[in-house]
């Protein structure tokens, strides 16, 4: 018996800690237990998935769907959301009788819809044997255990938007009447938009939650002294229906009634602005279609964005016109780290009642529009006031590239060429002549600069010069800074 003699040799493996270090030994033991539990959990999940996959064709029917924990949500609203799924489930005769697979599919669909209402913080789905006394063999209930999110929300913020800054307070009430309606009220004060308020009530209109209806009341007062020697105030009501068709874009149809007022003229205001001063009412119907396949809204490297906007005013009120505006932007990567981006905008306003109002006309120029021109300084001008125009187009081509060896930085460099023109419709000429005139004498600028991604806005610092300009345009040679969301 030579091999066995006390004390016995250590049988631990080399990578295990020795008994001398008790703390280390305890930690190692805990990690080992955790690994074992995780392994058991993973194998349990795997077994469950295996079990489910092998029994997908087991005949099962949904007897009822229960949503528990939704105390602030209306029953009628929940059944409005869930009924289409149930009827789809029961009417799938072509695929054969319902089975576990279709039950799971329905459960997933309902869970997704409930998640989209943004009412619930957590949704747990369970499939249980049916509770009903009259339940047959193979009847199941789907039970959703939910927890609702908080209903009230108040936020104060300072924000940077399109070349302006503002301080705002927002209050939001979720699920106001128990049907995923949202009420939001916002009050803000800023540099260019001196005061604004906005109250909005939105509610879903379709059980798939793709269509929403909105009614809002808004008012704002903007300081236009930098380009039009006046201030514009407006108060209005807007009713809109928005529908998301996925890859086919988002449609919005809305009615708007606005009271606009141009006042607070500076003493140096031109005669044309004085003629535009006063109050007028616009009552209009508009349609917007947006399709966005870009990979990033601020500095996209692939995809395109298209927006079409049409408005017809004249059902009551003073303003009477047809307005159409189109905007598109496309990006394409050329080399690793280098992207080519092309953007174009155009707009057209046709008046039915003689003259157009200042608030409806288009403005052009500035760091977010045609660069190397002062903000809103292009188009018809009287002395130092930009009056706005009825016909415009603008395009921009940019080559964006990463800083060499620092492609992870949010700063990119770019070279740009921008062109555009804003004109008023000359009634003496016909429409085609007006269009041709507008296209034939553009203002063009080139330059280079840096783009900084400062989520959710983009900041640009550019050095550019106007190559061709109209005499009345406000050219800005040299540096120009732009902060905003939509750049040309």
């Amino acid at each position: 018996m030579d091999g066995l003699k006390p004390p016995l040799q250590r049988s631990a493996r080399p990578d295990e800690p020795s008994e001398d270090d008790l703390e280390k030994l305890r930690k190692w033991q805990e990690a080992r237990i955790e690994r074992k539990l995780r392994g058991e959990y993973e194998s349990a999940v795997f077994h469950l998935a295996d079990l489910v996959n092998q029994n997908l064709s087991t005949p099962l029917q949904i007897a009822s769907v229960r949503v528990e924990g939704a105390s602030n949500t209306r029953r009628s609203f929940l059944s409005w959301l869930i009924n289409p799924w149930l009827s789809r489930h029961t009417s799938r005769d072509a695929d054969g009788p319902s089975n576990l697979q279709s039950v799971l599919h329905t459960a997933r669909g309902i869970s997704h819809v409930l998640q989209e209402t943004d009412i619930f913080q957590s949704i747990d789905a369970k499939i249980e044997r049916a509770r009903d006394i009259l339940a047959k063999e193979g009847d199941v209930d789907i039970v959703f255990n939910t927890r609702e999110k908080g209903r009230f929300y108040l936020k104060t913020a300072t924000e940077l938007g399109n070349s302006e800054g503002s301080a705002s307070a927002t209050a939001r009430v979720r699920n106001v009447f128990g049907g995923a309606e949202t009420f939001e009220a916002n009050l803000s004060f800023g540099t260019k938009t001196r005061r604004s308020f906005h109250a909005l009530l939105s509610a879903p209109l379709s059980p798939s939650l793709r269509t929403k209806g909105e009614i809002s009341v808004f008012g704002l007062e903007r300081d236009l002294t930098s380009y039009a020697s006046s201030s514009e105030g407006s108060r209005g009501l807007k009713v809109a229906v928005r529908s998301d068709w996925g890859s086919r874009g988002v449609h919005e149809l809305s009615y708007e009634a606005v009271l606009r007022h141009i006042g607070g003229l500076t003493p140096t205001a031109s005669i044309s602005i004085r003629e535009s001063a006063g109050q007028n009412v616009k009552s209009s119907l508009s349609h917007t279609w947006i399709r966005d396949t870009r990979d990033d809204k601020i500095a996209a490297t692939r995809g395109h964005y298209t927006k079409l906007y049409q408005e017809i005013a004249g059902l009551g009120g003073d303003a009477s016109f047809y307005k159409a505006e189109a905007e598109s932007q496309a990006s394409r990567p050329l080399l690793p780290g280098v992207t080519l981006s092309f953007a174009a905008r155009a707009g057209f306003l046709k008046n039915f009642a003689g003259h157009s109002y200042f608030s409806d006309r288009f403005q052009l120029g500035g760091p977010l529009s045609v660069r190397s021109f002062r903000a809103n300084s292009m188009g018809p001008r009287d002395a130092s006031d930009s009056l706005g125009g009825e016909l415009y187009w603008s395009t921009g081509l940019s080559l964006i590239s990463d800083i060499p060896r620092k492609s992870h930085w949010p700063i990119k460099s770019h070279i740009f060429v921008n062109a555009g023109r804003l004109d008023s419709m000359n009634k003496a000429k016909d429409t085609t002549e007006n269009f041709v005139d507008c296209l034939s004498r553009p203002s063009v600028s080139v330059g280079l600069g840096l783009i900084y991604r400062f989520d959710p806005v983009r900041v640009e610092v550019n050095f550019g010069v106007p190559l061709i300009a109209s005499k009345s345009d406000g050219a800005r040679r040299g540096f120009q800074v732009g902060i905003g969301l939509d750049f040309l």
Partner: protein
């Protein structure tokens, strides 16, 4: 750019080359062609409804006063437009006079109080210390009549205007132009609540009866002073007081309630107003 920072010379030279090519300025479509002096007034009573000479006279006393002044000073061929809102005028008060200036396509816009100066330059009439009155005593008397007209007669006229429409609180612009009635009456009217009330002072307690009585006295005095003269205070040529009196009398005669009865009783005032009206209307034309 701030003047403290100046561009270095080579950069300035570089910038001066741009833009390389310049298009002509983008044309502005003028709304109404501008060739003669144009007075911007508040809309006449029957604005746009008839092209009669009556449609040239403003319904607001302040604007009509200046119209009468221009006409009585002897100017003719002055255009009239009323499509400009008060917010578009200098200091937010109509009337304004838009005159073509030599060499300036836009012309020059004059506020109401600078109109006499412009008329003097235009007519070449020098500084008249007596302002058209016969002597100093009459000139001083004219100040008293002016304050009477701009006081109690203005208050009576304001009280006879219809109240603003129901939804005017929604509008963003001015609803009632001019001075409030509390500033016009002398002595200023008391408030609804007095010292002994627990409510803080609010509102205005205008006693209609006393205003009417004082107004009747004022019209009676005006009529007596005019008598059978051609112009007030026996002046040979029309003066500023005549313009003011005409403006008030015209507006009172076209008011819708009983304030006009006081004036219609005085025949000499009615005939005087009619005669001056034809003279004033002849000086204006539509700006189309």
């Amino acid at each position: 750019m701030a003047s403290a920072l100046t561009l270095p010379a080579p950069l300035q030279k570089f910038f001066s080359q741009f833009p390389l090519h310049v298009h002509p300025p983008i044309p502005v479509q003028p709304k109404i062609p501008f060739t003669k002096p144009t007075i911007w007034i508040a809309p006449p009573r029957n604005a746009g409804l008839d092209q009669s000479p009556d449609g040239l006279l403003s319904s607001e006393v302040e604007c009509l006063k200046w119209q009468a002044y221009l006409a009585l000073r002897g100017l003719t061929d002055v255009a009239v437009r009323w499509d400009i809102a008060p917010e578009g005028s200098i200091d937010g008060r109509l009337p304004n006079l838009h005159v073509p200036a030599s060499g300036d396509a836009d012309g020059q816009l004059l506020a109401a109080h600078t109109i006499p100066g412009w008329v003097d330059v235009r007519l070449g009439s020098g500084n008249d210390a007596l302002e058209g009155y016969k002597d100093e005593a009459l000139r001083d008397e004219s100040h008293a009549w002016v304050s009477l007209l701009e006081g109690i007669v203005h208050a009576a006229l304001t009280l006879s205007q219809p109240p603003p429409p129901l939804l005017s609180f929604l509008s963003l612009g001015q609803v009632t132009p001019g001075r409030p009635i509390e500033a016009v009456l002398s002595p200023p009217p008391p408030t609804f609540t007095g010292l002994s009330s627990i409510l803080p002072p609010y509102g205005t307690n205008v006693s209609l009866a006393s205003v009417q009585a004082r107004y009747a006295d004022a019209i009676g005095a005006l009529s007596e002073r005019l008598g059978t003269d051609k112009w007030f205070l026996g002046s040979e040529n029309p003066t500023a007081l005549d313009a003011l009196a005409f403006a008030y009398l015209h507006c009172i005669l076209h008011s819708k309630d009983s304030t006009r009865i006081e004036v219609t009783r005085r025949v000499n005032l009615v005939t005087w107003e009619r005669r001056v009206r034809t003279q004033v209307q002849a000086a204006f034309c539509f700006a189309s």
